[in-house]
Each structure stands twice: as C-alpha cells, then as structure tokens.
Symmetry: C4
C-alpha cells in the first residue's frame, strides 16, 4: 500500500514481528510428526539456527556445542578471540564496565590488532570437534583476511555487515567485488545484511548461497535514532523471500537461502521469521542468554564500539539455562526464551504444517500488540 506522506513524498507501510502473528488452520498435528531440519549446500542441520558471530554469543566452545546440538555456530573473526591470546579477562572486563564508561572502554579494547595466527588457531579448534565450521568477517576486512580463513578451512563463509550491497562505492580503497570473490572461493558464502528486495536480489546475483536479512545486530532502535534508518523485520524477510522466488526463476533454479538476522528476541519471533519466508535464523540475543555464552549474561555487537558513531549498546540479557535447554527445554517459564526448537515445533504442529518449507505458507495476520 502506497501512502502519501506529503506532496513530495510517498512511502510504503512496513511491519515488524510485533505487528504480526500467525493463526491456526483447519488441521493440527502432533509435535512429534513435525520436522525442523534445514539443509544448505551439503550440510543438513536438525534445527535452522545459526549463532550470530558476536563476542557475547559465539566462542570456539559455544560454536562446537551449538554444532553438536544440531545448529550452526558461526565464529566472528574480528572480536576478542582473534585479537587476544587470552580473551576471557577482556570479556570479564567488558561485563563489569559501569554503564557510562562501557562504550568508551570497548572502543579502546577493540583497537587491538586482529592476528592471523589466532584466526587459524580458533578455526582449528572448532574443526577438531568434528562439527561444521563457519566463520564471519565484515566486508571491510574480507579481502585482508579471507585467504587466511580459507586456508585454515571453513565449510561456510559468512560476510556480515550492517548493510552490505553488491555495489559499494569507495575512494579510500578498492571495494570488495563480491561477485568475483564468491566465484573464486571454494566454499559457499552467506552474505548480508540486506533489508530490501532490490539489495537482496543483487546479493543473490553475486552467487551467494544465503542472504542475511537485517542490519546485522540488535541495534535497530539506536540505528533508527542515530541514522533514521529502520527496516522492520517482518517486511524485510517477506521482501527478501520475494527476491528468492524471483531469482529462482531468473537463475533457472538456484535456491538462495534466506536467513533472518535480527529482531529475534524470543521463540515467537523465530516462528514469525520462518512464517514470513525465512529458511533459517541467525540468533544473537536468544543464544546470549545461555549459561555457556561468552557474554556471561551481557550482549553486544560490533556497532556498539564503532570509533566515531557507535550505534548499539552493551545490554544485560540475563541467563536462562544451558544451550541445550535454550534449544530443547524443558522450559519453566512461558516467556519464549527456553525451548526454542520445541516452540517452533509446537507452533508448526498447532497450525498443521510438517516441515519448514511448507510452514512458510502459514496464514499471517496484522494484529498490533496490546501488551
């Protein structure tokens, strides 16, 4: 629906996860007969969950544990694990920073250089555990470190930034030519965030195996306050799913995975992301609440310590149970933070769907939240 803001401007109404809900249809199923499995390239996962490559979420240890539990741990290569031999004391210091000093001190701590030896060491650690290895770089760092990463051996390569486009204009340096980079790489690439149909379609044309939908972090509020930019997730996912469908036709059958990344604070949001057309979800906050998460009950992203213009905060998310409990329960509270996979399974069962691809067709309603 095209709305007139004023004489010289029109706009489209867009929707957040909080604006929508799903509704049951005429059939129901037992949760036991429902499948939540997800396959990308040669890899099949029991649950369609990727961990966000953020210091508060994914360490080598949690990447391994998430892999063992049936998901995909994605290790970020620009955080404390590749800057410090001993990251634990740095994490501990970040956790204990007073509110008004947090951003400034984090800006300092993340100025330590990224070391190639640590990249190799951290990836080897994950590989040794026998789970799929996935690692993430920002577009700005991809050219500098990608060969080290590929040599170290990864199964899935993630390029993740606030907004990633297939056509970046820069004077300072030769910008990353995504199409050529992906073509030359041996491993499948997941790239994003993209929040619109056009941006996602262009990323799909670069040869990416998957596109991250969102802004790469939980900083929606502060991005809106400081940059005026906001792409509510329900619309963003449904738009990018539209790009997947159109690109499938245009490419003669190449299926690019749509991975929702951001705005996923509870199991209801995860359900809605799939309902909007996502194939999988990248989880930050929900995994940061696990007792094993390196953030220790805190959560922060790369934008939180941007040198000139920080656009996020270190936030307290608390701890609700082990990673296994977060994924598979049992839950002792109805707040959607524990048993994420069970909630997804039950939601699919209640609305009568038996696999994720079918569930993308579930009926959706617009029902603003009466808290």
């Amino acid at each position: 629906m095209d709305l007139e803001i004023g004489r010289a401007k029109r706009a489209r109404r867009v929707y957040a996860f909080d604006d929508v809900a799903i509704v049951p249809s005429r059939r129901t199923r037992d949760p036991e007969v429902v499948s939540t499995s997800w396959t990308i390239d040669a890899y099949t996962f029991a649950v369609p969950f990727l961990s966000a490559p953020m210091d508060s979420v994914t360490s080598p240890a949690t990447a391994i544990e998430i892999g063992r539990l049936g998901g995909l741990g994605v290790l970020g290569l620009e955080g404390v694990w590749t800057r410090y031999d001993e990251p634990e004391p740095v994490l501990a210091e970040i956790r204990e920073l007073p509110e008004d000093e947090a951003t400034t001190r984090m800006q300092e701590l993340y100025r330590a250089p990224i070391r190639e030896d640590l990249i190799r060491q951290r990836l080897a650690e994950v590989r040794a555990a026998g789970v799929p290895v996935a690692a993430a770089l920002s577009p700005q760092r991809t050219q500098e470190f990608s060969s080290v990463v590929v040599d170290a051996g990864v199964d899935l390569f993630v390029i993740r930034g606030t907004t990633v486009s297939a056509e970046h204009v820069s004077k300072a340096s030769e910008p990353l030519d995504l199409k050529r980079f992906i073509y030359e790489l041996d491993v499948p690439v997941i790239v994003g965030g993209a929040a619109t149909y056009t941006a996602a379609l262009h990323l799909m044309r670069t040869g990416a195996a998957g596109v991250l939908v969102g802004f790469g972090g939980g900083a929606a509020t502060t991005t809106r306050t400081s940059l005026g930019i906001h792409a509510p997730m329900a619309t963003a996912v449904a738009d990018v799913a539209g790009a997947r469908r159109d690109y499938l036709d245009e490419s003669g059958g190449r299926y690019v995975h749509v991975i929702a990344d951001g705005g996923l604070g509870n199991s209801g949001d995860i359900v809605k992301a799939i309902a909007m057309g996502a194939d999988a979800v990248m989880l930050g906050t929900t995994f940061a609440r696990a007792t094993e998460a390196p953030g220790g009950g805190w959560h922060w992203g790369l934008e939180a310590h941007h040198d000139q213009l920080p656009r996020g905060r270190r936030v307290r998310v608390g701890q609700v149970g082990s990673l296994e409990e977060v994924l598979f329960g049992p839950a002792h509270s109805p707040d959607g933070t524990v048993n994420l996979a069970g909630a997804l399974r039950r939601s699919m069962a209640t609305t009568g769907y038996s696999d994720l691809k079918e569930f993308q067709r579930v009926e959706v309603v617009v029902a603003p939240y009466h808290a």
Copy 2:
C-alpha cells in the same frame, strides 16, 4: 482488507476486543424489558455464561452455585479434583508458591494421575444438586475417559484444548475421530478452541452443538511470545459467527452455538463478544475473582504447567465479591468486574435491543483505546 507485509506475504488486519466498541442507535430501552436468556439443546439459562473448566474457577461447589444462579458450571476433569482426594491443600500450596518456583512446582503437582473414581464422585456431587451437569476433557484425554464421564452422567460434554481441529495428524496414537465420537455420544458436545472460520466450520461439521472460540485460556500474551500465534478475539468471534451462518445454510438449518472463550476480562468484553456474534461466553478470569472461586484470588490454566513448554502463568486476579455479586451486583466500583449480567442488560437497553440474538446485530466501531 488484504495487506502486503512484503513481496512474498500478504496478511489480514484482525481486531481484539480492545480495538472495538459498540454504539447506541436511535432507540433506548429500560434494562427491565431486556432478556439475557440463552438456550442450547434442551437447556435454557438465565444468563449466557459458562464457567471455564479450570482449577482456579470451577470446583464441584462453584459449578453448583453457578447453576443455581442461572449459568452453566463446567467442571474440568484433568485438574486437582480428579487427581487428589483432598484438593484443597494442593490449591492452597499453589496459591502460596513464590513467583519463581510456581511453574516448576505446578508441573510436578499436575503429574499425579487422573482417577476414574474421582471423576465419578465429582460429577455425582454436581448432579445431586439438581443443576445441569457439564464436564470438560482435553482432546488428548477424551478417548481415555469419555466412557467414564458418560456413564457418570453429564448433560453437556465439553472437549476443550488450546487448538482443536477436526483433522488431527498423529503418529503416536490413533487420533480422536471427532465426527464419529460425537455421533456415537448421547449428549450434546461443545468443542474448541477454534479461532478461524475454516477450523470452526470443520468442527461444526462434526456434529458439535457448540464451538468454543479462542485458545482455551487467558494465555494470549504468552502464546504470542512463545509460539508466535495470536488470534484476537473480536475477529475470531465474528469469523466463527460467519461459519455458523454458512453452516446453517449448508446443513439445512442446524444452528451451532458460538461460545467466546478467552480475552473476557470485564463486562465490556462480554458485551463485545455477543456483539461480534457469540451466543454465550465461557468465563475464566471474571469468575476467578469471586470469593467462592477455588483459586482464592489466583488464576491459572492447563497451559501454565505444560511439561516442556508452559505457555501461561499463575496470575493474581484478586477477589471482588461473591459469585452472586459478580453476576448480579450491586457494584461499588466502575471497573466492569461486578454485576456482569447487569452490565450486559444495561448495554443492550442503552443500544435498544431486547434479546441476545438481536443484539448480535448492534453497530460496532473500531476505536483503539486511549487509556
């Protein structure tokens, strides 16, 4: 109205009771000339109110009292009255549980087995009082216990679950064949919750005498948070009333009663449920506030102690007066918790309607609440 959420998804705008209100027309009446009576099958009730089969609302004693006052008490057969010889201490313990232990302990307490002797004993107690006897089972337990229930003698049989469909897919066990079950049963069956036109229409085709509209409990918020599912009640009731109308035509005249079940926190909500097309309402929270209610000022549903994925909470609702005062006043506060029947009567009078069936045609407006 069909809205585009994004390229690959469309949705319908739906409405909660809080989104709507009713408006007067050109005629007014004295409350005394208004009738609130409701007839289903061979039973006529002075007020169109059923009690919810929840431990905090309906005990044998309150079922009897509600029957005497002109409503229908519906006893739940999967709660403390059929699991414990002495339920009062169990209820007392639940009331006194600290907030952070409540869900876990309730999960334990409701693991006690359901006993057939207690089912017989509780139903006999209600029958002995000379009021209509109604009892409720979940769809999962209906096959196991229905013959005991029917042998014990009920006038109305209620099958109530979070979401009940006419077509349930299961591997674990032979699912309940509602159509055959209802056909073979001697007593009229009320079944639900259903929240959509299609689901309700299929339930009507099973031969049910009435359909419950809603999710079978006050857990709307937590269901939305944990499962992403939400079916706001104003739209749900109006949709199911549409199914009643279409089924009336399709069946050549069989009138299936529409009973709103959920989201009915005050008398204004009850009025709106009828205005949307409900024939009667099943009351949980509003009856839980009576001094005789077994919850003793607390309220909880079956979902609150689900083993793996609890989707509700034990909530404090307080006490506002006796059941008789809750139904017929007098009220000493304008908050819509006391004199439910009087409020319904006055609302009908103010808008000029003389019986419930007529009142379903009252004019409705969309007017989001400015609290």
Copy 3:
C-alpha cells in the same frame, strides 16, 4: 471507511479528539479581530461555553459567575443542591472520602429525596442575579419535576442523560414523549447525550433547540470497560453536525445547535470540538478545576453513584485558578487548563478564521498522538 472485523461483522473507524488536530491555512489574523460569540434562541453569549450540570461544577453561585463572564451556567436539579438544605457539608464529605469507600458512600448520599422547594429556591437565586437561567433534569425525572422547573422560571431547559433517544421503550412507566413534551413547553430545550447521526437526527425532529453530543460525563473509560460502549468524540460531533445539516434541509431551515459534551479536558479539545462542527461546548472537568467550583478540586458525575452499576469515579482534578482565569487567563502554564477563551481565540486567529461558524470549516488532520 468500512472495515471487516470478521466474516459476520463490519465496523467503521471512528476518531477521538486525541486522534486529530487542526492545521493553519494561508491566512493568519490578530486574536483581537476574532469573535467567539454564540447565539441560541434569544440569547447571545460572549463565549460558547455551558457549564455541566454536575455537583462538582455548577452551584447557584458558579452558575451566576459563569453567566457574568459571558457563558451559560446550567444547574443540575438532581444533585446535592436540591436534596439538601445545606449542601456544603455533603460536598466536603465527598471530597474527603477515602478512595475505596467513595462509591459506596456517594450511593448513600444521593439517595436523599429531591425536594421541589429546593428546586424553586435554587433557580430563584440564579434568576435574581440577572443572568440567563438554565437547569437540567435527567429523562427519568423530567416528567416528575418539569412543571416545577418551568413554573420557577428557566430560560433554557436541559434534558441530559447518559444516552437519550427519541424513542424509549419501557414497561415500568409511561416513557417521556420528548416530541410532545418539547412542543408543549414554552422554553427552548437542549437534549442529549446523543452520539450518532441517527440518534441525533431523531432528537432534532422532537423540536429541540440544541443537542448534546456525548454520554453526559467524563466516564468514557469506565463506560467502555463496563458496558463495551464507546463513541469517540471527534467522530460523534462530526456525525451530529452532519445531522444538523441534513435536518436543516429536511425542516426547511431550522438550525439545531450542536453542543459537545464530554472528552473536553483542555482548551485544545474545545478547539477541536468546534472544528468538528460543534456550535458550543458543555464543560465539566475544565470548570471543575476553578477555585470557585463546588467540587473543591474533585469531579464526579451522576453515573459515579448509580445504585447497581456505577460507571464513573470521583476523580481529583486539582485547582488552577479562578473561573475568570480559567476562561480568560492569564495562564502561567502551557497545559491548556487556563485561558480557554484566549486559546480558542488564538487558535482561530492562527488558522485565519474570524467567527465560530466559519471555524467549523478549518482543515483537520489525523495525527495520532506521540506523547
């Protein structure tokens, strides 16, 4: 705009004063060249303000003072002034009642009988001051006391109830035949509340000189909670103004005044009422804040002490200045409670209108409030 709530129900979107605002046009004026005068029947007022016939607002003394200041004081004849020789101690007691006892005690205090001698005495007092005399009865009491009132001498007769219709159905007593009553009466009658086009049109056909738009009190919230009824004022006034226009044509030129009554908490609301098409406004809360107001900083309506189903509360409104300051300033705070006439005048000036009738055409926007 006709919206589908569900298959069996459609509804219209309606608007409250808080949903709308007015906007300037290309012309501006000095406030000094703007007229706020209002003429009904043989009476012209400097400001289009009537006081609400409520015990917390209008006493004989404040009716006189409001008349002297250029408005119209409307004395309620079913409150403390016609039930008690000495109403001041009763008012003082009401002011000091603890919150949880207020409704119950007020229900008792208002059971004292209405006395004809006091009706005569109070009206004589106002008449003696040389200002126009206006008095109000509820429809239920109009037949019983109207001849006393008319004999005592009033210039304007107000019949004011929660919802007043031209066609009231009653078994208990012969209902008031408004058309005949108004025809036989010598004085102009203002009648309401009406909240819809149809109800207002029927009231206009009874011969009324004016129609009150609203529910006769500030009890919108509690009426919605307890009865499910709500008629937001922006739409209600614009609808009744439409009835005025259509009746003007139908009657061959009889102009019935539209008087907004309710939802007028600050000068911005008063401005919007006129902008929606009102000729004048009846003020409760805003006058109850005057230091002379008999409520002494508290405010309550007749619904607040209804015997069986109270639908309002005694609320603390505070005191902001003398009646003269409330009407004409100067204000020392920008909250719209003081200098009501000055605000109306400035708003008309800023948007370029020179009298109230013209100002009814001012451009209006829908702009939900970001508090």
Copy 4:
C-alpha cells in the same frame, strides 16, 4: 488518503518523523565520498545546519563558533542579548528557577525593552569574527527593528514566528506586507514557520529565499494541548517540498530553500527531514545540549513566556559535549545527540547517496515506533 472523521468532516492522515524511517537501496558508499554541503544565495556551508534563534541556543559566541564549524548561527534579536547589557546573570537565573515559578518569572524577565544599541552591538560582534551574520525577528517586531538590523549589516535575515502567513489580518496595526518588505530589502530573507503546502507556497511568492517548516520551536506537544493545532513534521516538510517544486515551475526556476525547524531531537530526525525534502535544518534542542550553549543544559523558546497564553516550557536537555563534538563527534553513546554531521554522512553512505539534493529521493517507509 482522505478519511471520514464523521458525516460533516473529512481529514487527511499526516505523519511525524517518529512514524517514518528510511531504508537502504542496492548501493552503498564510503562515508568519505559523501558531501553534506549546502548553498543558499551566495553562501556555502559545510553542513546544512542553522542554529535556532533562541536564548538557550544562540549567543553571539555560539553563532561565531557554529559559523567556524561550517554551519550558520542565527541570533535572535528579541531575547536577553538585546534586552540586557549583561545577559549572563539573567540566563543563570532562568536556569535555576523552580519548576512551578519558571513561566511566571520568565514572563517578567522578557518584559524588559529591546534596545537598538544592543542589536547593533551584538551583530557587530558576530561580524567581527568573519563568519556569515544571520539575525532573526518575529513578524510582530520586524517593521520596528528591521532598519536597525539591516543598517547593522546582516547576510541573511530571518523572520520567524509560530505561524507566519503571507496574508495577516489585523486591526490593531498595519500588518507587515512581506512581499513589499522582502522586495525592498537588500539581503536574502528566510521566513516561517509554515506547516502546509498553501501557506508555504504563498510565502515563496513573497520572494523569500527560504521557508522555515514548523511552528518555530519545540512546543508541539503544548501547542496541541492548548490550541489543538498540530502539523507533524514529516508531512509538513514533504508538503512544503511539494510547494518548492510547484513554485519552481510557476516562477520559471526560482529555487526556494526548505528548512525544517522543529521536531529535530536527534540525528535520525535530521536525516529524515532531509529525506522528506528539506534542504537544511534549523536546530534548537540538539544545539542546546552543547556545553557552550547559553542555556547551560536548559532549553526554552519565545512561546514559553508568552504573556497571556504560554505554549511551551523551559525543559532540561542536559549537556553532551562541545559544539564541535555535537557536530562532528566522536560519539561515545548511540543516542543520536553527538556527531550529527557524521550520522547524516553515514546514513547517506549506507543508502547510497552522494549529496543532499540526491538524498531527498531516498526511499521512505511508514513504520510506527516500537520503543
């Protein structure tokens, strides 16, 4: 979209900055390749920021500093700098006034006469610093003081009032003939606030070089409460940008600058103002937060001390850094108060635009804020 409020009134849906956001497109840029420069008449500025002519924002000293940093300081000539030889003690007193006395005392303090010698002295001070000189008068004072101002020498003349129209009707005095005044003046004139297409178009026809969009202050809330007037900024800017486009055609090529003035509390709002079509923004609150700002952490406008009908308040805005930091960072908090120019630059880069005029075409969405 034209909405029916009621039978006799239609309205248009309008939008605030909080209702909208901008979205990325398929291209991104480095912030370094983006230009934020703005040219009006013979003057080019590095950033499109004007300071509001309010005592809490612009002193001769801050006007100079803002000029040096690449913006335009606009000195108000009806505040303390032209009424007092020593304004600092007056400012200090205002800062320290208790809440309940602030409006009354400010009404007194601003009754001191405006002195021509001080106008000359303050403007000379700014000119001596070598930055562009801009000064503001209200329409009411323009005739009285404009010749003094022009003789003192200004590069840009600002006429700023709550609502300024090209056609003001007055009896008390000869109203300002804007068209003639601007024609006869040697310096370019910026005039406003105007909030609608028609009002702005008429102002453009007077020969103004720029039009201020808004109500000339942060008093939107209180103006709505007291006058019922509200023109949300997203719609207002887009409407006036539409007037600019139509006037460009009508005048055969005269480009009138659109300057958003009001509702700009953080960098996100500034971004949105440009996105709606503004060429530049006039900043009050955001500059009042600078440590050099004369308000010392407080902020107030002329309406706050209006004699009869104050429509604003002195508000505490706090201090967040030097003017240089407010403009260019670095930021240590993601709240959009520091590094305004950096945020604008990054927003343009993220959405792929390289200059302000292009950026006016950025895609906009309606996405009500979930705080």
